[in-house]
């Protein structure tokens, strides 16, 4: 079970922050073959891979959406309602992230601006399998729509009958997705990278996936396609104090542990008594879980750490930089000033990670494996890029010209200086004519 560590020294922090390493290199050759094949043979190659990996022979990867409506999709009305509520919250939070373009007159005659422009074409990958990740459809398609991306392609593998899970379809249609392709795995990522007749090439690919999809996204970058962020197993760090509730912390840790055997579960507590109580709660709650064996494996990689001093505790937490950080306390706002590195933070005893995973409004696509030190989770920015513009009048270049020439000559770039000189000379000539 979970490893206990009492008051580690700061020298131990680096080791405690280690995640299990994954060797991507082993996969790369196989993925490169798939990429070459898709580049060369396009949709014919897609058909072969779908038959091989998904066990279904499809004429086309295009899912025909004609005649399909939200009303006729076969999921319970409870689930429809839940997806709608989540949609509304996620939409509200991401719409509030719209920024206004800025424009600054840095000097007389010189105007600089920075404008957000949607990424034209984006791909969203949603894994298949028994647990349909319809929540991820919401998390990626909603900000893509708000950002105004011109073309949004959703790829997801077909089941053995050539269908996709109706909850994925429901979420996609609710988000206004118009193009769904029945293709999974590395072949989906390759198709979004090179484009085929049926699947357009995109500028950026979003979404989770198994190790093959992850390696394929990595490879896509070599061909000029951006990805949402580096991938790693999901993780949570729960920080608790004297006011936290062991049963809640245990439930939150188990929610993370059921994701996969490689999930990272960390508990940092200010006192040892709470730690013992929480571990006992875990033992109790785990027994009834359908994914008990997965959760047990995840817990065996996990750590429960006692650090009494709050400064030291957050020194460790910031070094760990958790994807999810739960502040299990009656006074969570006391901790906010300490937080420097985290993907998403859950404040208070009544704020489980599940809320953000599904429905509160925040995004659940977040940096793992310590990347929260430098990366943001997916937000509206992820679907846009910023372009800078500048306008310079004749007066402007007259004022700034000498500065540019002096700096260009200082860097020994004479042609850079000339680009200003030819303009100043023409203006001088115009004065005398």
């Amino acid at each position: 079970m979970i490893h206990k560590i009492i008051e580690p020294s700061a020298l131990q922090y680096a080791e405690l922050c280690q995640r299990p390493s994954i060797d991507q290199a082993l996969l790369t050759t196989g993925i490169q073959t798939i990429f070459n094949e898709i580049k060369r043979n396009g949709d014919a190659a897609i058909r072969n891979y779908t038959e091989k990996f998904d066990g279904i022979s499809l004429q086309s990867s295009v899912l025909d959406l004609n005649g399909i409506s939200l009303e006729t999709i076969d999921i319970s009305s409870d689930l429809k309602e839940a997806i709608q509520t989540a949609y509304a919250n996620i939409y509200k939070f991401h719409e509030a992230q719209k920024t206004t373009d800025i424009e600054v007159k840095t000097m007389e005659g010189i105007t600089c601006s920075l404008r957000s422009v949607p990424i034209e074409k984006v791909g969203i990958y949603i894994p298949g399998g028994t647990a349909p990740l319809f929540s991820t459809v919401l998390m990626l398609a909603i900000p893509a729509q708000i950002a105004g991306c011109g073309q949004i392609i959703l790829c997801t593998p077909p089941d053995k009958l050539g269908n996709i899970h109706p909850a994925i379809l429901y979420a996609a249609l609710l988000c206004g997705i118009k193009e769904i392709r029945l293709v999974g795995g590395a072949q989906a990522i390759a198709a979004l990278t090179f484009g085929t007749k049926e699947i357009p090439a995109v500028a950026k690919i979003f979404g989770p996936g198994n190790q093959y999809v992850t390696a394929a996204k990595q490879l896509a970058q070599n061909y000029g396609v951006a990805i949402d962020m580096p991938a790693g197993p999901s993780e949570v760090l729960v920080y608790g104090d004297a006011t936290s509730v062991p049963a809640f912390m245990a439930a939150d840790l188990l929610a993370q542990a059921e994701h996969g055997a490689d999930s990272q579960v960390m508990l940092v507590l200010s006192d040892e008594q709470k730690l013992e109580e929480t571990l006992m709660e875990i033992e109790k709650q785990i027994e009834d879980l359908p994914r008990k064996s997965i959760a047990k494996q995840a817990l065996s990689n996990s750590k429960a750490i006692v650090i009494a001093d709050v400064n030291k505790a957050f020194e460790f937490i910031n070094q760990y930089a958790p994807e999810h950080l739960i502040i299990a306390s009656e006074k969570p706002s006391d901790c906010i000033p300490y937080i420097k590195n985290a993907g998403s933070v859950f404040l208070g005893n009544y704020c489980p990670e599940s809320a953000g995973d599904y429905a509160s409004g925040t995004n659940h696509t977040l940096p793992t494996n310590g990347w929260a030190r430098s990366y943001s989770g997916v937000n509206l920015d992820a679907f846009t890029k910023k372009i800078s513009f500048q306008s310079i009048t004749k007066d402007g270049i007259q004022s700034l010209g000498k500065t540019i020439i002096t700096m260009a000559e200082g860097e020994q770039l004479q042609a850079h200086a000339n680009a200003v000189k030819v303009r100043l000379e023409k203006m001088k000539l115009e004065l005398f004519t």
Copy 2:
């Protein structure tokens, strides 16, 4: 010289958008050796590499800044003044990019927020050599300061006497840089990745460099360190119409061409006559350039294209996605609505790229090689990450609980549902006690 293409068909666009490919793989083994060596032997390895590559034996890579002041640095007062003017403009434009954190009550009892937090530790790499890139110091250190990064380490290789160029030193001190390390090449990137006693490990590395530095930055990502953006040779695309000035366009193209033999220079014009005039101007202006032979090599990879139709022209330009886009026209704002993909845009006949390279206020660290389809140039965001927070009250989880449970069960993640259920149950118990 430059290749002429008249009215290409849309089918040719993809080929015209090709940049020369660079094979990074060849370098990787050598770079990995340097990484292993720095990780194992720290500052001792740094000393060896500095002696080997920079030809100077240094006791320490730490540049002692004691007693150095802006006044005593030995560069001309003209250059000091120019750097100050550039500093003021760049500061003004980047300070205006500060955003306010957002907070949204998505439902009663549920508050979601998104806060910008500075990246704690950043590294700035400035190449050495004869042309000192002090302008790049401004472009990276100014936004790092404004963002509030806690630690900013500047690495730059020493010359044969163990000094750095005084203009680089001046720009660094003006920006408030307190830590300069005399180390260059892949060994600098490795040191910023792993940390040594003298050089702190950072979360993100910025800055240009030769192919070894580029390959090292690529490798740093495998160790969890972010980089500013994928690197490629610099490039400009000049778009001109009947109102553009051939001498100006020629000067702008040559300013790009002098950067390096692999620079990309593209000219897109609405009429052939202007194209001929511009090519003649290039022939004339190139003869006086100190870096003439480099510029000639760059031009031999370059293309001058006539596309009369403005819609088609921008279809091509957006597909090319230039790092720098100059709209050489008396009415540049007519073109703005067409622009979808570019790093930085220069509007009008009196707005040379050199202005943005040095002093107008915009940043010159920009996406190359088509990455402008998905990446922004460096702006204030590049030195921060966004963390989402949520607070949920008892009433909040009461309202949203059913939604979360339904969705979690829909994804067959029972422990996710339990994290809500344990809370709802406790609240129910409290009601009856």
